[in-house]
């Protein structure tokens, strides 16, 4: 059962890496700024999942503090970009 658990952690990490790669494609491609900001938002959530997986596999609970801070402040950047998009549209 423990080997199965380690294998499941490995498989979940691989799947999250594929998800991050697909999100990077949208980040590079996105036709407008808002698409790129949405991709960055999803990327933060995927990295939160990766750090949770790392917490499971190492047993170190220090990573949980970093995950908590990342979950707390990662949306502030998105809101700042939203304000920036509104101001750019007003100026043009």
């Amino acid at each position: 059962m423990l080997e199965l658990l380690a294998g499941a952690q490995f498989a979940a990490m691989i799947v999250l890496l594929i998800a991050a790669f697909i999100t990077f494609i949208r980040l590079a491609k996105g036709p407008k700024l808002a698409d790129r900001v949405a991709a960055l938002d999803l990327l933060a959530v995927i990295f939160i999942g990766m750090m949770l997986l790392h917490t499971i596999s190492t047993g170190e609970q220090v990573y949980l503090d970093a995950v908590m801070v990342l979950a707390m402040i990662s949306f502030i950047g998105t809101i700042g970009f939203a304000r920036y998009i509104i101001h750019e549209r007003e100026r043009s």
Binding site: A38, L42, V45, L52, T55, Q61, M72, A82, E90
Partner: protein
């Protein structure tokens, strides 16, 4: 038993997060992309967090994970709503949807409130 539940939650959470990324890549316009990305990504990460809460020992870690779930549950709709409201513009092309006549939110109005 606990390990089996953890394995299924891990795989389900990772696959739902992958689904969110595929939706972000494949959908035709910004609003449906954000519809895919914000909701299913938060569900996938919450499943991963529940799996982590089953594996770690100690009460403090479980409390931290509950806080993480709460923050993700709060932040995902807030950022999606702010971004979608900012992206609506006159003449903005959206799939199968009419562009609004005038901007629903302007800089002066938003700085007043």
């Amino acid at each position: 038993m606990i390990n089996g539940i953890t394995i299924s939650f891990l795989l389900l959470g990772a696959l739902i997060t992958l689904l969110a990324a595929v939706g972000l890549l494949r959908f035709p316009d910004l609003f449906s992309r954000m519809h895919a990305a914000s909701k299913s990504a938060s569900l996938g990460v919450i499943l991963l967090a529940v799996a982590a809460a089953m594996q770690i020992d100690g009460v403090i870690g479980v409390v931290k994970i509950v806080l993480i779930i709460g923050f993700i549950f709060l932040k995902s709709p807030v950022s999606a709503q702010a971004l979608a409201r900012a992206a609506q513009a006159p003449g903005e092309p959206a799939y199968n949807m009419k562009a609004p006549e005038e901007p629903p939110i302007s800089a002066e109005k938003s700085s007043e409130t």
